[in-house]
Amino acid sequence: MNIVIVDDSRLARKELAGLLTEQSRHEIIGEASDVQSALEIVNRLKPDLLLLDIHLPDGSGFDILEQAEHIPKVIFTTAYEQHALRAFEINALDYLLKPITSERLFQALEKIDTDKISPNTQAQSSTNRKADDHLFIREGERCHFVKYHEIRLLQVDGNYVRLFFRNTHAMMPRSLNYVEERLDPNIFFRANRQQIVNLNFVGRIEPWVGDGLLIIMQDGTQVEASRRQARELKNALEM
């Protein structure tokens, strides 16, 4: 795995790098000590994994996840069980407490490795590999890692986008168009200017006024597709 270490303490980075040399299949491709340089490195090098400290001089580890174009897998490293980490749903992420033992580190790395090469992911072609990628969303005190294929519905909410996933929803400070570019067009369908639906979560489709279609999601949510979009939906479904 290609790893980037983000920590403002040089000694802490060195400690982690030292531990990682024990296994040759991991390579440290970059190090950063603050949010700005971390963002630059992550976007440029697109690592598989970030070892990420939470407190950074110009922000927090969460800021990196929120702003990065490429969201790698993440293991948080922290000196103390932060209140911030409790904002996550259980098991949503891994974190290591400093001082980090090599045993715990490799356990965490292995977990990520097995997640990555699950048969489900391996079978997927490179074009829809995106489906297993994830988004990071922070809304108030709550943080979520959301896999793209878990999103049922995306909807414009003011200037932002509200995502519906699992049994919850959260707002992301991005435009719908920005998010749409990152979605797999084989799974996600732009029903109208306001909404994008995940076709895997569609319950049934009914004819609607003016040659449009009414998409009824499995949870009962109704989404209207305009005439033009309806034609595209028919094409997509026939394929």
Binding site: D8, A12, Y80
Partner: protein
Amino acid sequence: MTVTSTEINHKKYWLFQLAFWGGYWFLDIILVTALGYSSVLINSIFAILSLLMFGFTHALRFLYKRFFHQKSLAHLCLQLLWLLPLASVVIQFILFGIIYMTLQSNPDLGQGLQQSSAGSFVVYSMNTCIMLILWCLVYLFKAEWAKRRQIEKTHWENQVKLRDIELQFLRSQINSHFLFNALNNIRSLILEDTQAARQGLTDLATLLRGLMHSEAKLTVSLRDEVEWVKGYLALEALQFEQRLSYELAINPELLDAQLPPLLLQTLVENAIKHGIARRRLGGKIRISADSISFNRWRLQVENPTAELPMEHESNGIGLKNARDRLFAAFDHNATLELHFSGTVIATAEMPS
């Protein structure tokens, strides 16, 4: 056996009942004696009336405790509007009944007694009602006052408990974060520079000893405090390296001056947490101690401001804690202020 406040209240209540209705009986006897009506029968009637009132008001208290204790005063008054007249009529009815039965069995006693009528029944009932109202006023005033005091007391007790827990929690949180970072850095340093790692452990031991001793003391000498802070800064330097530099300007005459334990440490910790740690290039912390008059001195810690405005991470607990400790040591004789002007300067002034 210990006497609880409830037991004291019970005793008070029975004394109050005895005094109130005993007094009522006594006044009645004085009144009828003055008017020349006094007789064994009349006095007995008033005794029975007083006893009835005693019993009924006790029942009212029971109702109050059982049903109205949690209700508003207005709601209670509304209920009293029908309860009190009813109670008065019932009391008078019982009294009239007793008198009637006594006279039936022993008509001789009736001499000198006025003929009763519907009119006198109403007047007596009103009289009783007024007494009941008086009783209620006194009782409720005392009960509500006690209730309010109890609520206030619990409120303050809870406040104090909550704050203690908060302080302890935050204190342990801050130290733990620092402590584990220090341990992690020393661990890394063992491979890089054994001598520096050994020094780091020594600093950590000094600091821990200081922390443990500080709990018990009200003040320590500036000399001791500076020693720990140097150890503390050395450990933080492992974390921040060239990002952290500091300057100590301590007037040597003040080394024996007293200050609350960990005061300087708290100020330096804040300076690092809110200043150095929040700047990519770090900065310099200036620590100074000077006399400001023949019996006062000043401790200052200056740090550069954070690069980005802080999120709701700080709530001034560290500073509040430091103020509390200053207050505990010097009463109102000491102050601690923060000044923001390009840099942040924390200034503590204390008697020397």
